[in-house]
Amino acid sequence: MIRVQLPANLQTLAGVGREIQLEVPAPVTQRTVLDILEEQHPALRGTIRDAVTKRRRPLLRFFACEEDWSDVSPDDPLPDEVAAGKEPLLIIGAIAGG
């Protein structure tokens, strides 16, 4: 199972907790994970990536295994630890405010 952690506002929107577990067939990439996530939680469509272009929204980042994957191709395989469910894919809202 793939583990995905969501920021608080998206947890509220989707009606889920901090971490979601997803069954994602190989290859496990940002695109395949987000496709399954949006399929199972349609309220999240358009909130993480643009609904049409599928590009990451500018103020969100993707972290995994202490690395920033935000600007990596969405079709590159995620780390083995994420594919094995040992580490989560973190979806992070940029820090802002005051």
């Binding site: 608080a8 309220a43 929204r57 940029a94």
Partner: protein
Amino acid sequence: MSKVRVLVGTRKGAFILTSDGARKKWDVEGPHFGGWEIYHVKASPANPDRLYASQSSGWFGQVLQRSNDGGKTWEAAGKQFQYASTPGTHTWYDGSPHPWEFKRVWHLEPSLTEADTVFAGVEDAALFKSTDGATTWSELAGLRTHETGPSWAPGAGGLCLHTIVQDPTSSDRMYIAISSAGVFRTEDGGQSWSPANHGLRSSYIPDPDAPVGHCVHRIAMHPSRPNTLFMQKHWDVMRTDDGANEWREISGNLPTDFGFVIDVNANEPETIYVIPITSDSLHYVPEGKLRVYRSKSGGEEWEPLTKGLPQKDCYVNVLRDAMAVDGLDPCGVYFGTSGGQVYGSPDGGDSWTPIVHDLPGVLSVEVQTLG
């Protein structure tokens, strides 16, 4: 027994305030969608249990919410707002061409007769329509593709379509307002549009009485007089009595004619309300005093309404969608401030009480009269 339900959109969620017809004791429910900006919440006149809410975030984009039980529960509705054709460009702040880009829904206006039909005014300025309860949206592109569209430029808040007024005597006639393009009118249900700004003068544009380019902040209509509209412009309070063919100024003795809100008493079509704001660079009430101004003569002669409102050290703003009236007699008037207060008057403005003191900054206020 009558009941009123006040729908409040704030910078950090939506709140629902309810009271009986006396409008003295209030229940406060919320926040709904905590942490999200709620630009507008509005109920269908055709089905008071059907509410629509515009939920947005700089991080996560636009979400639309729908309720079928008066706001007790909500479900995510459609949020695909795609321009109907290649968007092209409008004019940017520096005068350069700028691509049309969807940013957010400012205003939701449910049909007067069909609960599943709702209009959405968006930034960058365009009008969308749904006939399936906000599940899918189609642009009424005749507005954005008007020949003047490439010249439309944003106000400080963005190029937003923020006001939608339906003529209750003709479903084909509707007025919208865009900052800062001005008022447009359709006579064919939104297929084609004409600028309706004759009589407006705006010194901040090169041609002060140009057909378009005016920063209209809000327009309001009493349903019994669909040819009469009242306007709070960037500066100037205006009215028309011929369906926006010609506007005339009615600022009269207001302490300043800058402001955002304007509304009409539900029982007295010539009684109107504004909240003067100091200036376009000082977005707070003048002299530290929160005063609603009322005219019982359709403009020109205004009286300050201060009973129950802070009269010293007050520096709040009241945004364009943040005033509403109920349908009771005497008419209830409500408004919300940038400081998070929602004030209500059960007596047409003679006296005011804060319904809530400490909400997040208020973006919109609507009211339903039930029962």
